[in-house]
Symmetry: C2
Subunit: 410 residues, 2 copies
């Protein structure tokens, strides 16, 4: 089974919007074990969309078309599919009723254009859209299938996950569900991870094990199981996840959608500890990420972005002028705890560049950790990249250090 993807929209060709939909669909197809060989982007031109559909169906068993399902005249996907199939569009009464209900009932004023969204190529099926106004389409044609989904990412993702992928799997005769479990790691390279779990990866086909690089957010080790039911898939994943966890240990900081800042806050919350931060080169980035988590206020007191040396001294009690040092990191962590009145104080100071500082090369960073009942600690690292990457790496490294210390206490 080979499924290709077509994104429709002139704004995609002109670079006004980056097409992230086809990448996302490609990832879902891959994790469902379905081949995808070619993705295309094309503008809002009826003839060209029709020719593109015809051309893609010469080699694909199915195509997924994103976008062009809206109510405006440049939304041409419905017409293009009908022309490619050689059938007319028919207006579906049940869709007219549904669209009217979105506008507050059939008696109410409804733009005529919106009724276009009730048009379906003859012989085609509707894919319901529970969170938007554009219904999706599923049209079988000469033994091939054309799916059409909206360009709005949330609506598209829900239709693909709930309708398109299950329908494709059923067509392969598998009648299977796919379950993913993402173990999010930080602190090891992809090749390092691959070496640690090489044998397990080689021995494994269901669940399969894949690495996904997530830049400054680390590397995800993804388990993908295919089984007749969700329960059966979960049962396949459990022993492999346990094996991975025993090998990877505290490299794993979170699972699935949990972020590093959420991982830190949940561990602090479990102990009833509050957090204060002092940061130099990151200038507030650590605090900003932590404050981004809904509910952070129960735990997060604040951050002191002590960018200038005299602020580190006057506000945080740093005693030296040498601010890229273990001493400074420790004093900043203690200062954050004292000034912000928190149980835990953490800090980061270092050289983001472009110039070196106090004789320390660009990328030199010191982290400070002040936890209840433990001596104040300083840890150093030499981080790679340009100014922005060093600031980002510093931020996640500091949060990860705290996460590891909290786990070690348990």
């Amino acid at each position: 089974m080979k499924v290709d993807v077509l994104a429709v929209g002139t704004e995609l060709l002109l670079g006004q919007i980056v097409d992230t939909n086809s990448s996302w669909i490609g990832e879902q197809l891959a994790s469902a074990g379905i081949d995808t060989y070619e993705h295309r982007k094309i503008g809002d031109n009826l003839d060209r969309v029709v020719r593109c559909i015809e051309s893609m169906l010469e080699t694909a068993d199915a195509i997924i078309i994103c976008g062009g399902l809206g109510p405006t005249p440049d939304d041409l996907t419905r017409e293009a599919i009908a022309q490619a199939m050689g059938v007319p569009l028919e207006r579906r009464e049940e869709l007219v009723d549904w669209i009217a209900s979105l506008f507050g009932g059939r008696g109410r004023q409804m733009p005529e254009n919106n009724l276009r969204q009730a048009d379906v190529p003859v012989g085609g099926d509707v894919i319901p859209n529970p969170i938007g106004t554009a219904p999706g389409l599923k049209c079988e044609f000469n033994g091939r299938v054309i799916y059409a989904v909206p360009g709005v990412p949330y609506e598209m993702q829900r239709m693909v996950n709930e309708h398109v992928i299950p329908d494709l799997l059923e067509r392969t005769g598998e009648r299977a569900v796919i379950l993913n479990r993402s173990l999010k790691t930080w602190g090891a390279s992809e090749s390092g991870l691959a070496e640690m779990i090489a044998r397990q990866v080689d021995d494994q086909s269901n669940p399969s094990i894949a690495f996904l690089a997530r830049g400054i957010e680390g590397i995800v080790v993804r388990l993908t199981a295919k089984a007749p039911t969700l329960e059966a898939a979960a049962a396949l994943i459990a022993p492999e996840e346990a094996k991975l966890r025993s090998t990877l240990g505290d490299l794993i900081f979170a699972v699935d959608d949990e972020t590093m800042e959420e991982a830190v806050l949940s561990r602090l919350g479990a102990r009833g500890w509050t957090l204060g931060v002092a940061e130099s080169l990151t200038g507030g980035l650590v605090g900003s990420r932590i404050a981004g988590v809904p509910g952070a206020s129960a735990i997060f007191k604040g951050t002191i972005g002590a960018y200038a040396t005299e602020v580190k001294q006057s506000l945080l009690g740093v005693t030296s002028d040498e601010v890229v040092s273990a001493e400074c990191a420790r004093e900043m962590a203690e200062g954050a705890r004292r000034v912000l009145g928190s149980d835990v104080g953490i800090s980061v100071t270092g050289v983001a560049g472009p110039d070196s500082q106090d004789g320390a090369p660009v990328g030199t960073v010191w982290f400070g950790l002040a936890l209840p009942g433990l001596p104040v600690e300083a840890v150093t690292a030499r981080l790679p990249g340009d100014r922005e990457r060093i600031r980002q790496f510093s931020t996640i490294s500091l949060m990860n250090l705290l996460r590891m210390r909290l786990d070690a206490l348990a």
Copy 2:
């Protein structure tokens, strides 16, 4: 002239990397007045890449291929172009010498694979790569042109700007250069801007005027002039830019690549004033963006991310428990100035959600501004969106307010 784009790489289909290159190229083509109708992504498979090139050349006058020019065996673009042209590859001695020099001279050990980067389809030309190891290609074939550029964005962008676009313009017989000037605006909607300058946009063809939405970074009004020389293009742009500036006034915060934080820092630097920040719902985001500018340390003292109410009170001298208020914003701005020892203090406090606070609905934000010689001021706004957007809008709104106050002083 119709130029299409092909991005090569299995990782693009699997969603491991989002193809941003073709969007970027599409934007450059559009701003050079060159049509682009179709972009494709395809995996690292020789037969499929060859068939894809052949198929795209049926309708395009030229194609730009990104990626697949590296040294490893899955880098197949050179072979694919040669096969599509029906010619063999030949190893170019001057490229062998150049690649050898990158490895420290011909005598040194050089992986055999790297020599593959010296292979060029017979009849093809080399596009030099001053910042990477992969040379680009320009191959004419049956009256059409195939350009191949690396997948690494910086290298690709430089080759497209310096070689591909000029070569395409020369082929159109225009012998023109394209000059863009981006006026970055904040505070008006796209439809609002469009209304303000509708007549000028309609009357204008060279330079053309386009709107580019940049999300939380505002809307860019881009002037694009085509002329025989850069000087002539600049002369076309100057009067139109002056007209736009007189209409848009202080909606324009920066030009071309300058960011809002750079705009703020350069204005403060011109007066010799230092800056301190106090922030609540943004938790350090304002400070983080300002500290991200190289050289910020001469001006930026730091930020107090006073997330908890008691920190606003103990550290910044806020007197009330009602922290979503004009009074609190003013006290925070004054507190930032006092505690951080800066000339200027700015602040933001408000409700990022998901829950309302002190009876103020989600999105309610107060900004404080304390400038030398002026009474401390508070400004409110009701910002749209979810928690993250409200935090981001608050950050850029605060910087923009300061930018406007500094301009008004001038």
